[in-house]
């Protein structure tokens, strides 16, 4: 393992910002640290960089314990949330700074900086100052600056937080490509699940200073390990099976102290009577609302007093608000305080329990 955190704890006053954090990262991977605000993501990143000191626990990079290595000797690149570009230096000088500190040969510095400027696509802008760049361009410079001294590990704290929605989209793919090209092991922090899912090879989900789950985006999406993850990831309807027991067809075995999470893609809406298979498993529902969501429609449908959400392609046959439709629920996540499992619709298949 390239980066290893072992039993890391960190208190700020009485507040546990990191609570027995453990994880490992493979070389060359791009890792997303995802979690709600205040969950300790930045703290983890800053401890790896050496900007904070853990109260206990060990941090290994490439097999070497680096707890006592001063931050400037760790060979780690750091991209700050607000870039922290040197305002009074040109793009060139910003990127060259780390190399100049290393007292590199002048020609080499020039070559390397121009190469990086080319890489980030800012040729011809090397004499501009950060204030003369757009948000996205600044982000790129910050990235190049961190890469210049060829770090073994690149840490990025909310790299896209300060950027416009439209540009953010572009930058995500750009960053992903860049990191692949350079091949540097990277960890980036975000509180935007969409971002983490799109960009990262693997996601580490943090909550209240703890690591909740680590896995590829699809793993995390399809097999949430904890109730927190099940709710945090994906856009879901949470359905509580309480006193006024509402039984959904095929899910009669959900116990009364359990909650269920139903994702939009678990729900299929069909025009009434047009269903071909598993008619027995289908509920009837009434369409409450149809919202246009750019390239698809989001349909809210009420089934036995539960409002379910499903997505519908623009190419599918039109339905209208108030229409009665067939609703099939393929599966759902069930959880109580400490475990989560996926439950398949028993009316649609036979083997229905899959423990994760």
């Amino acid at each position: 393992m390239y980066v290893e955190l072992k039993n890391i704890n960190k208190l700020f006053g009485n507040f546990k910002a990191s609570d027995n954090v453990n994880f490992e990262i493979e070389k060359g991977k791009l890792i997303g640290l995802l979690g709600p605000s205040g969950s300790g993501k930045t703290t983890i990143l800053r401890m790896i960089a050496g900007l904070e000191t853990p109260d206990s626990g060990d941090i290994f990079v490439d097999g070497i314990r680096i707890n006592d290595t001063p931050p400037s000797k760790r060979g780690i690149g750091f991209v700050f949330q607000n870039y922290a570009l040197f305002r009074y230096m040109s793009v060139f000088d910003n990127i060259a700074f780390g190399l100049q500190v290393q007292k590199q040969n002048k020609n080499y510095i020039k070559e390397r900086v121009l190469e990086l400027i080319k890489l980030i696509g800012l040729e011809g802008m090397e004499h501009r100052y950060p204030s003369q760049l757009s948000g996205g361009q600044r982000q790129r410079v910050a990235f190049a600056r961190a890469l210049a001294p060829s770090p073994h590990l690149l840490l990025l704290d909310e790299p896209f937080a300060a950027i416009d929605a439209k540009v953010r989209q572009e930058l995500r793919s750009w960053l992903r490509e860049m990191i692949e090209k350079v091949g540097v092991t990277s960890i980036f922090v975000t509180h935007d699940q969409e971002e983490a899912i799109e960009v990262a090879d693997e996601i580490i989900i943090t909550n209240r200073g703890k690591v909740e789950q680590k896995g590829t985006p699809i793993e995390i999406y399809k097999k949430p390990a904890t109730p927190f993850v099940a709710q945090f990831i994906g856009q879901s309807t949470v359905y509580e099976n309480n006193e006024d027991k509402i039984q959904l067809k095929g899910f009669e075995m959900i116990k009364s102290n359990e909650k269920a999470v139903i994702r939009p893609e678990f729900v299929q809406i069909t025009k009434l009577g047009k269903l071909k298979h598993y008619m027995s498993a289908a509920e009837e529902g009434i369409v409450e609302k149809i919202s246009f969501r750019g390239s698809y429609l989001e349909v809210n449908v009420k089934v036995k007093n539960i409002i379910l959400t499903s997505n519908r392609s623009l190419e599918d046959e039109m339905i209208e608000v108030g229409e009665i439709v067939n609703v099939q629920i393929y599966r759902l996540y069930v959880f109580n305080e400490n475990k989560t499992y996926l439950l398949e619709n028993s009316a649609m298949a036979d083997n229905n329990y899959i423990y994760i």
Binding site: G50, L51, E52, T53, D68, P70, P71
Partner: protein, 284 residues
């Protein structure tokens, strides 16, 4: 135990990412100690040479108390006037464009640069009932020089830069959106100022007010000429210190000085406290 502390200190030092902590704190504390702390502590040393009873007797002497009263009262009025006019000045300098604005702006620090004695002599001659300005007021039966009004004028003179320069940057940075928001809610200029802008600049006003007040209380050079120095009426506390020194009563002088020092300190502290309270409201 000892080892523990050492270890802790070690990690504390290591924790600092930005270099230069040691040398900076060293230099800061050395200079502070040499230039400020040691000399100031000598006041305490001197005062400690007299008994508590004597101390209380000195500082509650009728003349001394009246000196405090004159100094505090005049400084308070002057600081209040400065707070008002300083705010108007800062507002005008930040929000409006007009001919001569830069000149006006440039003049604000003049009281810093003019020796206080020169200021005192000049102000006295201007505001005495024979002076350019004083004669105008004299016709209305108002005497300025040699009265408390004169003292207040001198204190306004020396205090104005503190207020203007405290408020100005805050106003400059203040988002005009607050005003626009209030406008959109139907508020008039008057209400906008008192309900929306004033709270925003209040901490800065307070800082300027406090500094002007502290400076006014301690001011000697420019005030002593224009004050009539009549005991119980226009005799300021710093003059009493000088008088005591004249009589070689160091202990008395330092005792009076100590009270003023503590007073100034309390003013600064109060302001700091109010400000940190205000900061709590605004910065979570």
């Amino acid at each position: 135990m000892k080892i523990n502390i050492n270890k802790r200190q070690k990690t504390m030092i290591k924790k600092r990412v930005i270099p230069g902590f040691g040398i900076s704190i060293g230099i800061t504390i050395t200079f502070l100690t040499l230039i400020v702390l040691i000399p100031i502590s000598s006041i305490a040393i001197y005062v400690s040479g007299i008994s508590l009873n004597e101390f209380i007797e000195i500082i509650t002497d009728k003349q001394v108390v009246s000196g405090y009263k004159v100094s505090f009262f005049c400084a308070l009025i002057a600081a209040l006037i400065n707070a008002i006019f300083g705010t108007i000045l800062a507002w005008v300098l930040v929000r409006y464009e007009f001919i001569g604005k830069r000149v006006l702006d440039g003049l604000i620090e003049l009281p810093f640069a003019l020796p206080t004695a020169v200021a005192g002599i000049t102000l006295t001659s201007l505001y005495s009932d024979k002076g350019w300005i004083g004669s105008i007021f004299a016709e209305a039966g108002i005497q300025i020089a040699y009265t408390k009004i004169g003292i207040i004028i001198a204190m306004i003179f020396i205090g104005i830069p503190f207020v203007v320069r405290s408020i100005q940057p805050v106003l400059e940075k203040m988002d005009t959106q607050y005003e626009e928001a209030a406008t959109m809610l139907g508020a008039n200029g008057h209400r906008i100022f008192f309900k929306v802008i004033l709270p925003e600049i209040f901490p800065a006003m307070l800082t300027g007010f406090g500094l002007a007040l502290a400076r006014g209380i301690g001011e000697y050079g420019s005030v002593v000429f224009i004050a009539g120095n009549m005991p119980y009426k226009t005799q300021i506390a710093p003059l009493l210190i000088m008088t005591k020194l004249e009589q070689f009563k160091y202990a008395d002088a330092t005792a009076i000085a100590l009270v003023m020092l503590v007073a100034s300190f309390i003013i600064l502290l109060l302001i700091n406290m109010i400000q940190s309270y205000v900061n709590k409201i605004t910065n979570n």
